[in-house]
Symmetry: C2
Subunit: 170 residues, 2 copies
């Protein structure tokens, strides 16, 4: 118990990752079901050390989560859109409000506040064009603080850290 507290304390301070940690992250980032034994010989460490390091990094929040990636086509988000949004810009109030709105929408898979001509980049996943149309009307067209937006329809994902680096299975 005390040990745990110390571990977390140490965690908060900073994240010093040595080359072993980085190698491990590179591996589990692609496949987190790979046995420690296999990881051990890849990075040149013992099984115990591998497991200790992974557990530590999970406690420290360096590893944020462990998830299964589900084929997007089967989860209701068949169409992927990229949306570049420009707001009527003055102060952070509208920016924050817009960000909050986006966070509320199920369709918005990811969003960034960006610098430059555009203010936001959205990644939106919808089951149909009708759904996308509804989304843009409610959140963009009918919003007075949205100056303009541009939609890029995704033809296909060509890289996805998450997908292309997936483990090869037998």
């Amino acid at each position: 118990m005390t040990e745990f507290v110390i571990m977390v304390r140490k965690a908060m301070k900073s994240a010093n990752l040595d080359s072993f940690d980085r190698k491990l992250l590179e591996c589990v980032r692609r496949n987190n079901l790979e046995p420690a034994r296999s990881l051990a010989e890849k990075v040149g460490l013992s099984e115990s050390s591998v497991l200790r390091r992974l557990r530590r990094m999970r406690l420290e929040g360096i590893i944020i989560g462990d998830i299964a990636l589900v084929d997007p086509a089967l989860t209701g988000g068949a169409i992927t859109m990229h949306v570049l949004v420009q707001l009527y810009n003055d102060g952070h109030i509208r920016t924050d409000a817009f960000a909050r709105n986006m966070a509320r929408r199920e369709e918005v898979v990811a969003a960034w506040n960006v610098a430059g001509d555009e203010d936001f980049v959205l990644i939106v996943q919808v089951p149909s064009m009708e759904a996308y149309d509804a989304f843009t009307r409610e959140e963009l067209s009918e919003q007075s603080h949205v100056r303009d937006f541009k939609t890029l329809i995704s033809i296909r994902p060509v890289v996805d850290t998450l997908i292309s680096r997936r483990p090869l299975r037998a």
Copy 2:
């Protein structure tokens, strides 16, 4: 062995997911390290069935991968860029070649081939502006088939499905 072939054959045909499958996906999508015993009582099935179904869905490609989510700020990718790329467009050859190049680069976290004025949307994570500069030189500026590209510097991520859906740990 024969059983395996039958499994895959069946897999290719289509993906009929019953309510048990969907419940399981909803769980492992948030946390794929949860023991089958725990999943079993959640969805109302035996441990064996849970494991069988998960294995089947992994073979069928319904579950695309199993990965650890790593805090982007700690993986050397402190800066996130969005890059809109236009190629000199003719045929699919250059598009495919470009896609392959992007897939090779560690910095490219995600990339899509899109329709419209732009050809590609990239999400690039780099530790520094120097690293980004090097990336753009090698892959964009010095590439004759790249007509133009536009960089959007991410100020902050405001939505991230993957992160917000992370499992809660004790």
